[in-house]
Amino acid sequence: MTVELSLTRDPAHLRHGSNIGQPMTRTDGVLKVTGKARYAADNHPPGMVYAVIATSCIARGRVKSLDVAAAKRHPGVIDVMTPAHKPELAEDPDAKGNPFAFRMELLQSDAVRYANQAIAVVIAETLEAATEGAALLSPRYQVEIARVGLDAGEAYAPPVVGIGNPAEVRHGDIDAGMAAAAKLTDATYETPAQYHNAMEPHAIVAVWDGDRLFIDTPSQGMGFAQMRVAGLFGIPPANIHINSPFLGGGFGSKGLISGPQVLGIMAAKLIGRPVKLVLRRSQMYGPVGHRPPTRQRIRIGTDDAGTLTVINHEARITTSSFDDFYEPAADASHTLYASPAIRTAHEAVRVDTGTPLFMRAPGEATGSIVLESAIDEAAFARGIDPLEFRLKNYAEVEPTTGKPFSSKALRQCYAKAAERFGWAGRPLLPKQMRDEYGFLVGWGMGTATFPAIMFQGNARAVIRADGRGVMETGAHDMGQGAWTALAQISADSLGLDFDQLTFRSGSSDLPDAGIAGGSGHTATVGAAIHNAGAAVIAKLAELATADQRSPLFGAGNAGVVARSGRLHRRDDDARSESYADILARAGIAELDGTGSGAADAAAQSQYAMHAHGAVFAEVKVDPQLGQIRATRLVGAFAAGRIINPLMVRSQLYGGMIWGLSFALHEEAVMDRRSGRILNANLAEYHVPVNADVPPMDVITVDEHDPHVNPLGIKGVGEIGITGSAGAVANAVFHATGIRVRNFPIKIEEVVMGLAG
């Protein structure tokens, strides 16, 4: 299939569509299902020993003593790394070199800042010996009272939220909007702390060779990790070789290298042998980030016609006692609904937890479930169908900035998903529908949105003498199939068939591909690949069209098109020459070119860039027992160009399931006195199991975006959560008439409201 799509700023000789847009299965799928994919913790270099972290069971205070002697007496224990016995670092891990250098606990003092913090590392010949050594340390503590929860202290206005966003944003006249409201919905919601819980725990195998460091570790951002480790150990970033071919999920928790991973490097340095350190599941609840709890008050005013007059969205969030990450929960209200007055504001409370960090749709997820629930409340208060209410208040331009959208096919998303779901005829009042077995049935909807973000990434492309191509980029595949999608872009950028391409990735020795986050990896690295491929093909075209012996002589650079390893004259497809022949005649072994991808600042200043979607949910509720079960989820998403429909669908499924999880299941339970997490395991930290996941429908709506980036990609990694969580929650209201404002929706909140 060779569909030619017109793209702005696209070199004339590139033909995107031969590989892009195809539903290719994962290139690494067979490796994974046969167990041949080597994850970080699968590595076992000669002489390797095991390090196990001893963690604090208090949330605040100091370690008074550790029984290092007892640990060392245990057979197999080699050494115990403590604040008194550790390699010196070149840089204070609490120094804030940049806003992304989050403080980490590297045994610099005896202070305890949260439960599950590392207080020592035991190194032993076996995992079992190291584990027992850690238990034998029997720490004694000086305990201070832990600060737990959203009311633990004085709230303050954070300097910024998210990545440099203002904590408070005002658009229009808020007071006037409030005054103009004939009806005001004023509701306060709470969302819980959540932990990323990637299937693969954070792991590292570290090997020092002089001042060179080789590490196997899962990373969503190898360049960032190199910089941080280089600073901490005082060696050049280029001396650090990170191998990260496969990740068993990251969801943001592997975006920045974490304290425990650095402790593994320190342990290797301390004893001069390769060290493996793998976090236990319970140890992932603390030092590797989380989504903080929020309390959000939202006021939505409407006039008599049901038109918005104001959205005033305030969020209280927690952050750690020692660092600054502020979940931008209220920012979800910036872009979706056309209100003449919008205010978003944040306040923060310091608590004794690890620092919260980016977790899949940070801010968007917490804010979306509240905004979409409150919009549902406002529509209900007005007696308007929730879809009609959203269409009535559809934002034609970005409300808070007035910018036009670079593209926005949300109307089509609403229409297609509503039709597929069968939304028409939904009773306005709750508790009207029952199935044939007597279960209460509810239908709810939510709008999905996520910004089209780009970071900075690079790629290098090569055409070899045999006419085959190589694309190199230090990109990250978290399991979502990035390498397959990026290889598809690579093949098109080099005018090659998929099997003529070698795609190299997953190592910091390759061109830095930035960070796999913000749903921006495919857009960023895709653009870099696109430009690198274009650079090589341009060189190749120059060689051929300048050579009298070539059938392409005189065609000019813009006059050729690259396809299946040959350049063709654009005006005469029959005249062509293979890459191999062009290089052979020129006596060149290989041609290479580099490219980078980044957001176009000019386009960004002109346009608001967001992906959108609409999600419809059906739930059933037991009328006496209150148990809830989602029975259908339909989502339609417009996210620019779709590189691989198979993987995009899986990403959206995953996001929608996460949304369902947010509404009904997921919550870290913390003891309000000790600050310890009580369900730090996958048996009791509930995420949906297969039996909880209903039949799902994902529709992708065509969207050609000429502004967002050369390939027109918006990203799909996170948007699926937004909209879905609210849709499920709204469906529960529609089934029961009970508006639960604490998430996840718990059985007692529903059961006590039902008649019995």
Partner: protein, 348 residues
């Protein structure tokens, strides 16, 4: 993990001798014990692996009409034994509503009886727990306790017993066969697990070295096969412990309940037999009013141990549901979502 002795005795007598030492613990599949050891909650100095003991993995129909289930029979094997499922459908449904397929394939009958509470404070080595450390206090009492006990708890412990399997078993008067230093004895299952009282650390009536070798269902347990259900409310559809569960087994003759058997799960430190409720039902016509009356009787002594008053209401409703479903008749096959309210008609 601490170093420990591992022994694999060849017969029951050797096993009992090996397990009679202080610090010894029996190991079957370890689906609970190994987690406890990894978490530092249990630190046995010796594991006595009983999985190879001969003759303990059989399901036998005895001459007196009772059924004897060897302690090493796997949960999945028992639930999928067609005759067993037909004869004791509520037990099979309860088994299949528990844990995950993988765990059920490994877990044994005896191990299920001996599983420990899921109280987070019991698992959290940093918390005070009278079960782990007698006299230490109970951090659950003022802690996160929305899922804790509403029946039979004490100030010393508000934990619940997590088993699904035990709930219909206790309703059906199951008997536990035990081998110990002083020979063989039997206990009603109802007497195996203890309420906490002043001694929460004594979770069962077993003495050191005692080995559960079999579970027996008496002949009359079969008489309930036509009207027996297990219903379990939980926080996700599978792989979750019960918030509250109920087993109901009825003997209905000439339109009257001749005999009712009721068990509740997730409400107490032991699988709870609701005898007062059974008495309310005996002789009554099966209808909603008498179910409600029975449910009220079952929970008449209940009191919240924390943020869990809803469980008292929920337990009554789930008893009514279990009775409604049992009276309607045991389904031909175990539902696709065993124990789930969504496996059946939602009543009214």
């Amino acid at each position: 993990m601490m170093n420990f002795d591992y022994v694999r005795p060849a017969n029951v007598a050797d096993a009992i001798a090996a397990a009679s030492e202080k610090g010894a613990s029996y190991l079957a599949s370890g689906t609970n014990l190994l987690d406890l050891m990894k978490g530092g909650v249990s630190r046995p100095s010796r594991l006595v692996d009983v999985t190879r003991l001969p003759g303990l993995d059989r399901i036998e129909r005895l001459a007196d009409g009772s059924l004897r289930i060897g302690t090493l029979v796997r949960n999945a094997d028992l639930a999928h034994d067609a005759e067993f499922a037909r004869t004791y459908p509520a037990v099979a449904e309860a088994l299949l509503s528990g844990a995950s397929a993988q765990l059920r394939n490994a877990a044994t009958v005896g191990g299920n009886l001996m599983q420990r509470t899921r109280c987070a404070y019991f698992y959290d080595a940093g918390s005070a727990c009278n079960r782990r450390w007698p006299g230490a206090g109970c951090d659950a009492l003022q802690g996160e306790n929305r899922l804790h006990a509403v029946l039979g708890w004490s100030e010393g412990c508000i934990a619940t017993h997590p088993s699904d399997f035990c709930v219909p078993l206790v309703a059906l008067d199951a008997i536990v066969e035990i081998e110990g230093k002083s020979g063989r004895r039997e206990l009603p299952l109802e007497a195996l697990h203890r309420l906490p009282g002043e001694t929460p650390e004594r979770e069962t009536a077993l003495e050191r070295g005692d080995l559960i070798v079999a579970l027996r269902l008496p002949a009359e347990a079969k008489d309930f096969a036509g009207h027996a259900r297990y219903v379990k409310v939980r926080e996700r559809t599978s792989y979750a412990f019960a918030v509250v569960s109920a087993a109901a087994a009825l003997r209905i003759e000439h339109g009257k309940i001749r005999e009712a058997r009721l068990g509740l799960g997730g409400v107490a430190a032991k699988p709870w037999r609701a005898r007062e409720a059974e008495q309310v039902l005996a002789g009554a016509a099966p209808d909603a009013a008498v179910y409600s009356e029975a449910a009220r009787a079952a929970l008449s002594d209940a009191k919240p141990s924390g943020d869990n008053a809803f469980k008292i209401e929920l337990a009554q409703r789930i008893l009514v549901r279990a009775l409604t479903l049992a009276a309607a008749g045991t389904p031909d096959r175990i539902p696709a979502l065993p124990g789930s309210p969504f496996s059946s008609v939602a009543g009214a």
